[in-house]
Every structure is written in structure tokens, then in C-alpha cells.
């Protein structure tokens, strides 16, 4: 089996509100899977379920071969997670952040030390090793946060709106880093609302009101909807929405 994420009929209700409505999809190993949707479409809820942060109301899913209901501890060891809201601890130095998160995932001390130096060199951050994260520009923080999320070499990395508020050049560099990770065999599950970024994904799914309305490669989607770009596809689908933005 090449599918690292398998989702079958997943539903999450909060009272009467159906946040995630019976969704099913597979994500292949090494794939960059774009999870698109308007705010409040349910993408963050679905992602939280896959990361073991929240339990589904019904349906099945496995991540990295582990069942989300019974093996969430094993899942957590095999994934990386990065959210837009929080990147790293602002009042810790760059190397302290790396060491802390690598330690959480059980990496050995000397492995952390040598890998830290390599990473900082790759990023061109050698001089910033002892800088407090709050003194870094936002784009750098996001790049560093991504590097930290995949530092322990997870099977899958979940990125929740990773490029929010970042300038176009840094976003471009950020996506190069995502490509590199995917080359190394790390599966990338990314939510975004920048539709141009969707074009960089191997496959995208578009969520409207908790349901997946379309799922294919960007190229196929454009042909299917006879659209020039993903943005247009998204607009066509989003018209169906009856849910108000939260």
C-alpha cells in the first residue's frame, strides 16, 4: 500500500453543526496534497482529527498506517505539524527551539547537534543560531518552523496555512522547501487559501460546507471545470456554499 493517509466517511459534528460531512480520500506517499476550502469549510477540523487532536464522530481514518481512534500516540510520533498561528517559541533562541522540538520526538542529543548545524547552513542561518526567534523576520520564522516540523524526519507533515502573511518571494522559497521534503519521501498535507499555491500541489481537494466537492490534480481539475486556473474552479464550487463565514 502506498497510501499513507486513508480517510473513509469521516464525520465530525459539534451539536447540530456538521463541521466535516462524510469525507473520504487517500493521500499517497511523497505526495503534496493540497487541502483547500474557504474559512469555516471544515479543513482545520479535518486536519485536527488526522493529527489526533480531536476525535471523529463517525467514520474511519488511518495516518501512516495507524488508526486515528486507537493509535493516536503512534501517529503523533510519525507526523510533523506546523500551524500559521504559532511557529516557534519567540523567547527561545533558534537552536533552543530546534533542540526542544527534536527532543520531544526522541532524537538523540548528538544527532540533534550535528543535524542542527547542517540545517542552519542549508537555510543560511548560521549567524542566527543564538538569535531569539522574536528577532527574526516573519518569513524566516516560517521557514525555520517548517524545518523544525520535519526535523525528526516524519512520514507525513501537516501544514496549516503555513504561508499566511508571508511575502511572495518567501512563499516561493517556502514551496521549494516543501518540494525538497517531498523529494525525500515526506508526504505533505497542506491547507492554504492562496489559490496560486494550489497549482504547486500534486493533487488538491476542495472542501465546501464540510464536504469534498472536487479532488484531482490541478491540471485535471481545470479541464474538468473548464477553468483557466484553480482560483476559478474554487469560485465555481464556492458559490454552492450556504454556510456563512465564521
Amino acid at each position: 500500500m502506498d497510501d499513507v493517509i486513508v480517510v473513509r466517511d469521516l464525520t465530525k459534528r459539534f451539536g447540530h453543526f456538521v463541521a466535516v460531512d462524510n469525507i473520504s480520500f487517500n493521500v499517497k506517499k511523497g505526495e503534496i496534497f493540497g487541502f483547500l476550502g474557504a474559512n469555516g469549510a471544515g479543513k482545520t477540523t479535518a486536519m485536527r482529527i488526522l493529527c489526533g487532536l480531536s476525535r471523529p464522530t463517525s467514520g474511519e481514518a488511518s495516518v501512516g498506517g495507524f488508526d486515528i481512534r486507537h493509535e493516536s500516540e503512534k501517529i503523533k510520533k510519525n507526523i510533523g505539524y506546523m500551524s500559521q498561528k504559532f511557529s516557534l517559541y519567540q523567547d527561545l533562541k533558534v537552536w533552543e527551539n530546534i533542540k526542544l522540538f527534536a527532543g520531544i520526538y526522541g532524537m538523540k542529543r548528538n544527532e540533534i547537534a550535528s543535524k542542527t548545524d547542517i540545517l542552519l547552513k542549508e537555510l543560511g542561518f548560521e549567524k542566527e543560531k543564538n538569535t531569539l526567534v522574536k528577532d527574526l523576520p516573519l518569513g524566516w520564522k516560517q521557514k525555520l518552523a517548517f524545518s523544525v516540523a520535519i526535523f525528526h524526519n516524519p512520514k507525513i507533515v501537516f501544514l496549516d496555512e503555513p504561508t499566511g502573511g508571508v511575502d511572495p518571494i518567501t512563499r516561493r522559497q517556502f514551496w521549494e522547501m516543501i518540494y525538497d521534503a517531498s523529494q525525500k519521501g515526506i508526504t505533505v498535507f497542506v491547507t492554504t487559501h492562496y489559490m496560486d499555491e494550489a497549482e504547486y500541489c500534486d493533487r488538491v481537494s476542495i472542501m465546501v460546507d464540510g464536504r469534498i466537492e472536487a479532488m484531482n490534480s490541478p491540471k485535471e481539475l481545470k479541464r474538468e471545470f473548464n477553468a483557466e486556473n484553480i482560483d476559478e474552479v474554487f469560485r465555481l464550487l464556492a458559490k454552492k456554499s450556504t454556510r456563512k463565514e465564521i
Binding site: 493529527c51 489526533g52 487532536l53 480531536s54 476525535r55 500516540e73 503523533k76 510520533k77 507526523i79 505539524y81 506546523m82 500551524s83 498561528k85 504559532f86 517559541y89 523567547d91 527561545l92 533552543e96 533542540k99 526542544l100 522540538f101 527532543g103 520531544i104 520526538y105 526522541g106 531569539l132 501537516f158
Partner: protein
């Protein structure tokens, strides 16, 4: 364990790198001690008073000298008429006036019970009450000596003995109080804010998506505050012993054990607040209103609990600070055996167990 240590270290770094947190933890206890020790003192010392002596005889003169000599009062004014008294009060020159009636000596010697009027500024009622009590004491003592010297009749001699705090120093009272208060600030307030901060900034989500166990996160968050509280306790002890001259009569072992139990109770209070509050501001308000204020007002630190209305007395019973202060007073100032504070120990211990259990339960629920 390794995870725990690296998390605890991170928490120490958060604290050390935040100037305000450091200030609160290191400077606040000392400031509070000095404030309560020297500024908010309830002792009476060299209070300015005025005298209207209508008698101007030997005995009344000696009486005035006695009042002036006492460490409580200093006679600032000798009035000639009643109207001057009023003026002096209005100008805030004096807090108390004493009026001695005509023919004082004569009446005293012939057993006619001469009258002395004490007029006090009761805009601060507690202060006025204390002033009047002290003045009555000084006057009674002085007259006692006079009548003894002048009359062959045997007198009833009342002798007052003040146990445990013979000099009536208020520091004996507030040192336990400040300890109880500081621990609530550091353990309950600061801890709850720091836990809620992780949730508010989104880092908690990141941690929960990692293999680290929630219990490890919480324990490592409270560890630094535990140690800092112990440093606070030591600071307060040192300041009170060396600067304020408050004795430590009881066994140090039991005093410290009591402090540690109280610190643990306060930490679990902090964890509990963090499970309720969603933002740092809410955590701050909850700790300030539900924990800090009652710990200051209802713990017996400032006001006597037994003279409060019943409802407040009942609330006082559920404040950990009340039990801590009561026990530390007994152990430290009275120097009693630990047997006599078993009750307090037991209450604090049960509070701790109860709070830890419900915080853990609440914390688990919050993950969903």
C-alpha cells in the same frame, strides 16, 4: 523524563527572559514585606495628640508627662479652650485630644471620680479605636500610681500579659500573611497565566500533536514555579528574621513542610484556573478576584475572621491561605508542637488532593 527536563528548562528560560515575570517573582516579596512592615503598619507610635488641661495641678501635669513619655503619643499642643481642639482636628494636626476637668487632683484624692474626656478622629475607625485603647491604658496606669501613693486603700491591680507577641508588633501578623499571599501570586496566578499563554498562542496545539504527554507538559510548566516559590519563602524568612526581627520559634522542618504543602495546593489552583480560562486576561482576572482578593481580605491576614459576618467566615474556610496562615502563625510565632496544627495540615492536604483530581479531569476534557 528527558522530555520533562527539557520542557522544565524551557519554562525556566521563559521566566528568566521575561523581565516582568522576574520582577514579580524576585522583587515583589521584598517590596510587600517592606510595605507591610513599615508603611501599612497598624502599630501606634508617636501619634500627635493635644491636651486641654482645665485643672493645671500636680497630678494632671504628671498625667500629661506620662502620655508624652509613652512611645505611643507625643503631646503636640496644649490648648486653652475647646474651640482650639476643633481647629487642630480640622487642620489634621492631631488625631486625639484629651480633656482634663477642673480640680482634677482634688476630686481624685477625695474619691469623687474626676472625669477625663478622650476625643479621637474616627475617620479611620480602627485607628481611632486603637488610639483610645492605648490612651485609656496609659491614663489608667498613671492614675493607679497616683491613688496608690495617696490613699491607703488597697487597689485592684490589673496586670496585662500579651502572649507570643509581647510588643504587639504587627510584623508578627503580616509575615505569615505575606507568605500566603505571595505564594498565591506566584503559584496560582503566574502558573495559570503561563499555561493559558501556551494555549492562546497556539503552541499547546503543536505540543498536543506531538508525542509528549499532556501530564508532562503540565508538570514541567509548574516545576519552575515550585522552585521559585521556595526561593520566595526563603527570602521572606530571611527578611522577617534579620530585618524585622520576627522570631522563628517552631521547628524549621515542619514550617517548610507546611510551606511545600501550601505551594502544591496553590499550584493545583493555578492548573484549575488554566483549565477554565481561555485567555491570559481571563486567567488574570479569575486569579485576582477569586484567589488573590479573598486570600488578602478573608485569610485573617488583615482582618480577624471571627468578627466577620457568617457568610464571609464560611468563604474564609475554603481559602487555603486561611489555613496556611493559621498554621504558620502557630508554628512560627507561637512555636507550638506540630500536633496542634494537624488540623490545618489535614485540610490543606485534602484541598490539594481534591484540586489535583478535578484539574486532571478537567484537563483531559479540554483536549476534546
Amino acid at each position: 523524563m528527558k522530555q520533562f527536563l527539557s520542557f522544565a528548562k524551557k519554562e525556566f528560560l521563559h521566566i528568566f527572559r521575561d523581565t516582568w515575570t522576574m520582577m514579580i517573582i524576585l522583587v515583589l516579596p521584598v517590596i510587600m514585606m517592606l510595605l507591610f512592615g513599615y508603611a501599612v503598619t497598624t502599630e501606634i507610635r508617636d501619634t500627635n495628640i493635644g491636651i486641654l488641661d482645665n485643672s493645671r495641678d500636680e497630678i494632671s501635669n504628671r498625667l500629661i508627662d506620662k502620655l508624652d513619655e509613652s512611645e505611643y503619643f507625643s503631646v503636640l499642643k496644649v490648648f486653652k479652650s475647646n474651640s482650639e481642639i476643633d481647629k487642630a482636628f480640622r487642620r489634621n494636626e492631631i488625631y486625639m485630644a484629651i480633656v482634663i476637668e477642673n480640680d482634677f487632683s482634688k476630686k481624685l484624692i477625695t474619691g469623687q471620680n474626676p472625669k477625663i474626656q478622650i476625643i479621637a478622629d474616627a475617620s479611620d475607625p480602627n485607628h481611632a479605636k486603637t488610639l483610645v485603647n492605648y490612651a485609656s491604658g496609659v491614663i489608667a496606669q498613671s492614675l493607679m500610681q497616683e491613688t496608690k501613693a495617696n490613699s491607703p486603700l488597697s487597689q485592684i491591680n490589673t496586670e496585662i500579659k500579651l502572649l507570643y507577641n509581647p510588643l504587639m508588633k504587627s510584623s508578627y501578623n503580616f509575615v505569615p500573611g505575606v507568605m500566603g499571599f505571595i505564594i498565591i501570586i506566584v503559584c496560582a496566578m503566574m502558573t495559570s497565566i503561563s499555561i493559558v499563554r501556551e494555549r492562546e498562542r497556539g503552541s499547546m496545539e503543536l505540543l498536543l500533536a506531538s508525542p509528549v504527554k499532556p501530564i508532562t507538559i503540565i508538570l514541567s510548566k509548574v516545576t519552575p514555579y515550585f522552585f521559585l516559590s521556595i526561593i520566595n519563602i526563603l527570602t521572606i524568612f530571611l527578611v522577617s528574621y534579620f530585618v524585622m526581627g520576627v522570631p522563628i520559634k517552631g521547628s524549621l522542618f515542619w514550617i517548610f513542610l507546611l510551606c511545600i504543602v501550601y505551594i502544591l495546593v496553590s499550584l493545583s489552583l493555578g492548573i484549575l484556573v488554566s483549565t477554565i480560562a481561555k485567555t491570559q486576561l481571563v486567567a488574570l482576572i479569575i486569579s485576582a478576584i477569586i484567589l488573590l482578593m479573598p486570600s488578602m481580605l478573608l485569610s485573617g491576614m488583615m482582618f480577624d475572621i471571627s468578627s466577620m459576618p457568617l457568610i464571609l467566615q464560611a468563604i474564609a474556610q475554603i481559602m487555603p491561605a486561611k489555613w496556611f496562615i493559621s498554621a504558620i502563625r502557630k508554628l512560627m510565632i507561637m512555636g507550638v508542637d506540630v500536633r496542634f496544627v494537624l488540623n490545618e495540615f489535614l485540610v490543606l492536604f485534602s484541598m490539594g488532593v481534591f484540586l489535583i483530581l478535578i484539574s486532571l479531569k478537567k484537563y483531559k476534557n479540554r483536549l476534546e
